[in-house]
Amino acid sequence: MTKYKAMIGLEMHCEINKTDTKVFSSAKNGYSSKSNEFIRPLDMAFPGTLPVVNKEAVRKALMASIILNCKQPEYLYFERKNYYYPDLPKGYQITQETKPAPIGVGGVLTYDCKDEEKTVRINNIHLEEDSASMDHFTKMSLIDYNRAGVPLLELVTEPDFRNSDEAVAFLETMRAIYQYAGISDADAKKGQIRCDVNVSIMDSDLDESNPENWGTKVEMKNVNSFGSVKETIDYEIARQIALKESGQYDEMEQQTRRWDDEAKETKYMRGKVDAIDYKYFIEPNIPKFKLTKEWIDEIKSSIPPLQRERKEKYVTEYGLKPYDAKILVKDRNVSDYFERVITSGIKPIDAVNWITTVILGAVNKLEISIDEFFITSDILAELIGLVDSGKISKNQAKNALYEAVQNEKNPLDIIEEQGMEQIQDESSLKEMVCTLLDEHPKEVDDYLNKGLTNVVNFFLGQVMKQTQGKANPAKTMELLKSELESRR
């Protein structure tokens, strides 16, 4: 690899799913397992329909633009990208890809890759509408218009990544930004994130600042998971190096390929001559819209604390270990869950232990989001509260939680059903201890006269057995010792 350098750029599409309605229609912006549920006439391009811009989608797009340190245009325009495809009911997509200016240009973002700080230049970020989704069968294809018109952010980076790790680290950072800023759940499983990957290789000794040295750009379309992004890049770098080594690289034309996830290779789609002419022009139904400084400032001031800031707070303010803090902030939903638990008075250090061990373990095993987990932050907070107040032991809580996960039950119910609450009442414990000592004169004698102090553990075991583990162990031990001593 040292002989060559990879020039990698990304186009990351992310649905904005945190608006009530779609970007140009009043249909609900939502994810549904039922097809064609969220549609208004515009979403199927019935004649006479017109787009109406959703201001909240623009607001969220501007927020992304600001976070990426992009320049915002003075006026907001949209344009049409014209092409025929069954998933595109209007025959064009409303986007802002070329002129005059998309919602953000010329940004830069810092991200961590393997604990090293890197920066990437953002060429532009723009707001557009998603297409319908399609299911293909042997003899037919089905179209679902639920997704048609969902607001979509397309972010285009400069070719600043040198390997797949950097590209994926950047994507993870972006996903967190979208989540933390409340722009999107950015859930790749729901198709909310999709990427195009550009890869070329150049000789390491050439001047990188001259684009002519970058080599021939190969674009891979619709790479839809971060894992596939990594595989695609690694595969493509290897493929292109092999072409270099065998002297065939110069014959390779600029082209578009796709990632075949089953064959684990990229496959040729079309060359430069077949590139589609999208015949862009400004969307005449949307008048240009002035983006005032006041509005931009207002949006800027409303950006919530993002991943980096939260992590810092967890370490410096809550005294968490950086490792734990990193786990908590990786997914905004987890971080939110943690924050809700500590809001109800639980010590951060206690909360983090429960979350990183039991809760995340269960959530990962179930392959769901922590939001969908039936043990809500409220339930966990109450459970930890019971331990803190000594009502149940830590072990009891842990057992209840495991059992709850296993049987999908509320752990608080389990505690109650199994009567796990500890016996705190001193007088009843004392009575039990006295009776026990009376019944075991030999053992009392062993303790008092033979110095066998371990006998106390035998008594403790007996108390626990009689109370089915409900006695507070510390308190019982205290009572046992004082009662034994009093018989000396």
Binding site: P41, M44, A45, F46, P47, G48, T49, L50, P51, V52, V53, R80, N82, Y84, Y85, P86, P89, K90, G91, Y92, S141, I143, D277, K279, F281, P284, N285, I286, P287
Partner: protein, 487 residues
């Protein structure tokens, strides 16, 4: 009694005084619709099940009207006069039609247009050619051909139209009636089938300026469904018609109006321009100052090309929803490309396909700068030029077309040499979104001709008031077409 030949206010009075019921009006209008359909082929649909309604204080309540068939009407076939939508029954109604319904207006038919509004002849609709009620061997012009024909024939006092080049204002002149398209965005376009979105206007064809004002008062209003619509609630068109026009200033463009600029002018053209000058003299007698101005002929000669490039480009894109996949008579094929191709090949007329090819060509990356962007620049120059005129004048007054209605058989049309700018200048009204109204200004060889007044954006009330006063002195208000010949 032919109530449908009266003005809106007269009919309203008769309704209030119970001389006639809304149901009787509807019956008269439907009967007339069938007669006119048989003679001139003006309608795609006659709504025989239309019923009279209870009459309120609203001027339009209970009175029949027609809807151009590119306005979406819920549960009523809406074709755009195209085979692509020959069976399309929408499930929503255009905002402007809803507004008319809210005032109690009763739709009785859907009128023929040039396919999707793309044409100026009234000959390209899928149901065939619309004939001119003054002379059936002539055209009504288009695209609002059916609406113009029906209003001129006395089917009802008004019908809706749409105007992207001159589609309301040209047919109005050819049929001897009034055609008004207000400032862009005054009437919501939601539900109007898009042709060229930056040029498309809703409007009305009627037999008087007052009626046009009453109808647009009812149709207009800001609409959440159309971002280009604007709040005109402080504009009351019919109320502002007071006829006080003394001291108003109009201009006409010498390059277009002076007969000496047309060395090969036919008799028809000469008479048309002469008639226009007579109308100008009468206009002056109202105390309106009329001045000749000069506009660079080179710029005027570009109007038609600018229109072709911009309108066809936008049309190509707007009509891309016609794939036969989500709606329309779907074509079967092995793959989606052939499905779409077969549907479009089979159902669009050849004229439209020609426009799509041109529209597509001018948007191609290698041609866009030369054609599309240049057309947009010249559009801007033309609009600026007109706006400069509006700094000094209340409006530009010009003759419509090069004479009376053209022959359906174009070989019979008189040859005039280069008259393209005169024939197409109304398109500037759509380039700038200006309020623009055509009124009849007389006859040439027994056939009606018209003049047009165009003013600055948002100045609709002033433009209409001037037209109202001129209409008064010219004396062709409310005329009903009668066949004067068949050549």
């Amino acid at each position: 009694m032919n109530y449908m030949e009266k003005s809106i206010e007269e009919i309203h009075k008769d309704l209030i005084e119970k001389k006639v019921t809304s149901q009787e009006l509807v019956e008269e209008s439907l009967k007339k619709s069938h007669e006119i359909q048989d003679k001139y082929n003006a309608f795609v649909t006659i709504i025989d099940e239309a019923k009279g309604v209870e009459v309120s204080d609203e001027l339009l309540s209970g009175i029949p009207y027609g809807i151009k068939d590119n306005y979406s009407t819920k549960d009523i076939l809406t074709t755009g006069s195209s085979n692509t939508l020959k069976n399309y029954v929408p499930f929503f109604t255009a905002t402007s039609i809803k507004n008319l319904e809210a005032k109690g207006a009763v739709a009785v038919n859907k009128t023929v247009l040039d396919e999707f509004g793309m044409g100026g002849t009234g000959t390209t609709g899928h149901t065939g050619t619309v004939l001119n009620p003054w002379n059936p061997s002539r055209m009504c012009a288009g695209s609002s051909a059916g609406s113009a024909c029906a209003v001129a024939s006395g089917v009802y006092p008004y019908a809706t139209g749409s105007d992207s080049g001159d589609s309301i204002r040209k047919p109005a002149a050819y049929c001897g009636i009034v055609g008004y398209k207000p400032t862009y965005g005054m009437i919501s376009r939601y539900g109007l089938f898009a042709y060229a979105s930056s040029l498309d206007h809703c409007g009305v064809l009627s037999r008087s300026v007052k009626d046009a004002a009453i109808v647009v008062d009812a149709m207009k209003g800001q609409d959440d469904m159309d971002m280009t619509s604007w709040d005109s609630s402080d504009i009351h068109l019919s109320e502002s018609l007071d006829g006080k026009v003394s001291g108003k200033k109009l201009c006409y463009i010498g390059e277009l109006c002076n007969v000496e600029n047309y060395p090969q002018a036919s008799d028809e053209l000469k008479k048309h321009l002469e008639n226009f000058k007579v109308a100008l003299d009468k206009t002056k007698s109202l105390g309106i100052e009329v001045e000749e101005v000069s506009v660079d002929k080179k710029l005027l000669d570009l109007i038609a090309s600018v229109y072709v490039v911009i309108a066809y480009a936008e049309a190509t894109s707007n009509m891309s929803n016609m794939t036969g996949i989500p709606f329309g008579p779907r074509e079967e094929a092995d793959n989606y490309i052939d499905m779409i191709k077969n549907f479009r090949t089979k159902n669009f007329s050849s004229k439209i396909k020609r426009r799509f090819v041109i529209g597509s060509y001018v948007l191609q990356a290698e041609n866009k700068e030369r054609y599309f962007f240049n057309a947009q620049r010249v559009r801007r120059l033309l609009v600026d030029e007109w706006n400069r005129l509006f700094e000094q004048f209340d409006g530009v007054i010009l003759p419509v077309g090069v004479g009376p209605a053209k022959h359906l058989d174009s070989s019979k049309d008189a040859l005039n040499g280069d008259v393209r700018a005169l024939d197409e200048h109304l398109q500037v009204g759509d380039f700038g979104g200006f309020p623009s109204i055509t009124i009849p200004d007389g006859f040439v060889d027994g056939l009606p001709v018209g003049l047009n007044i165009t003013g600055k954006c948002y100045d609709d009330a002033n433009v209409l008031n001037i037209a109202y006063a001129i209409e008064g002195i010219l004396g062709y208000k409310g005329q009903i077409a009668k066949e004067v010949g068949h050549d």
